[in-house]
Subunit: 186 residues, 4 copies
């Protein structure tokens, strides 16, 4: 197997994903995050890892943010935002938490590959990443060199970084301040 081709193949696939991402949805998601009072983030499996990476960058930007399941997660209510990931459309725990957040008056933002999935249908805000997930990774539906939901998760990584750059500009955060918020407990 030619490793170089694998790298470039994966990057070409990611590039193609972003050619299909709707810029207006990204800007809307950035606005939603920027005006949220408190933010909580949740995702399962490897999507959850990307969501956590976003949470750390939001913390670096000085936002009031927490990861669901951590000991220091506040309750959400009006003015707050729950960000969830549901690549293949929906998950039982995502559905449960969205229900709680909505009932408490918080808004919900779903990142998904399935614009018509269960999570997207019940969300206040939807950000679609048109990339392969475990909803379409088998048989003739599969299009990625990467396994399972890896293309979606990699696209989340790049998308979230770009959103952080846009949030940093929008909120006028000095990169040095962002850096100073990083923990030394490592």
């Amino acid at each position: 197997m030619d490793v170089t081709d694998l790298y470039q193949g994966a990057l070409a696939e990611l590039s193609a994903v972003f050619a299909r991402v709707d810029d207006a949805s990204v800007d809307a998601a950035v606005d939603t995050i920027a005006r949220a009072k408190r933010i909580a983030c949740y995702g399962v499996g490897r999507e959850g890892l990307q969501i956590k990476g976003l949470a750390m960058r939001l913390f670096h930007l000085g936002r009031s943010v927490a990861v669901v399941g951590d000991m220091t997660t506040p309750p959400l209510g009006p003015g707050d935002l729950l960000i969830v990931s549901a690549g293949p459309g929906d998950f039982s725990t995502v559905a449960g938490l969205m229900g709680v957040a909505t009932e408490a008056g918080a808004e919900t933002l779903v990142v998904t590959a399935q614009a018509d999935g269960g999570a997207a249908r019940r969300a206040d805000h939807v950000l679609v990443i048109p990339a392969q997930t475990m909803a379409d990774d088998t048989g003739s539906a599969a299009t990625s060199v990467l396994p399972m939901g890896s293309l979606f998760e990699g696209a989340q990584y790049v998308l979230f970084e770009v959103m952080i750059l846009k949030l940093r500009a929008k909120l006028g955060i000095d990169p040095a301040l962002m850096r100073a918020n990083h923990t030394n407990l490592e």
Copy 2:
């Protein structure tokens, strides 16, 4: 095996531990926590679980607190406090984090069964729980009906709850406020 005897045996062992705990050390630890600007908590294994339980209650009390390893942990510096657990005396990651915290000007509080252990020797504040850990759970040293470090960890649970009650009184926090800080994202 008589279950009832096991329960009462475990509780009697816990009771004996607290007969040996130094009240002045507990009060000093409570004072240290009460005046800390930012608090970070760390522990390994099942001790780490008890440390996390303490962190959640400190969060409920409105303290600025984080668990090491979470995405939203700030850097520590002067005026801040690192709380670690080192039941059997020391751990490599505990030692590493204590070094970072001390170098950054933060104070350290160690909860341990070994007053002369490595972690205690390098700490600013030490809280000793005289209970069996994996430092003395084999051969003739073993005294508990519970395995390995379970007596120490159970004693941490009870001790931390009592410390929270004392902190709640000292800080004048209304129980209703504490409760209102609990997350609904469950």
Copy 3:
């Protein structure tokens, strides 16, 4: 505040809880765990910490066990067991995961203070700990010196330790082997 009285008060409350625990339910839960092929454990908040402590001890006993949300959690199916905690009766994520497990043919075991709660009603096996949780911690319903769900969580700690002792005997596991399974990566 008299610290000594707080310790003994908390331990007396725990003792009273175990006077009300049904031994047959505990033995049934132990049997259910002993015969499960694969086990996954889940709980929210501080209940979740106690569930994780149980998971580590089950791992020490050599059981095939995982914590939901970890990277190495297998899928559950027939012959497998999902253990969840739902002290005050039910949680949205607990409900979601129980649904998934049941649909996949796995059995479910709920540890709760509410024998008639949502989680208990949909479970295959129920283990009731009759202790204060956030379902009855306010007004005249409150009976514990400890805040919120602390009595329930402390009772979980002791109960799970006793269950581990019973499992160790039932499975014939040498304490030395159990100890040898503990990680050195600390």
Copy 4:
């Protein structure tokens, strides 16, 4: 800010990183992982997230793998492998864990941007990703459009996916089997 340019800028930077990655090192790392008996993975911050993503894919491949800090992590010894991330060169907890693993007879594999960093110097195996980290993200040393260590972390994501593809081929694992190992508890 032109979002499209940011995506393509980030992907172009990643592409340039992989033009500099040493294929022989990647193959050596794949071989090391393939022959390890038990594997444990550790990383801090957002590097830690990428390490966890690798751990989940290794689990999907049927490897005996755990994440340090989880309840089900075994002890490591001869024949076992500790994989750590130390992008900017070293971390106190990484150093501590590497010491423990080495003393116990396990091998260590470090993923880093600093071939001469502390972690690399004490490792048995080193995999260098030549990308910006927090060791060179300020002043004239900074070269990436992305903040802090984001380029390194994104490169880890892509590199680990490629390594998984190579491992899958090397170990002869059917993609369907890999997929069947994914948890349903989401």
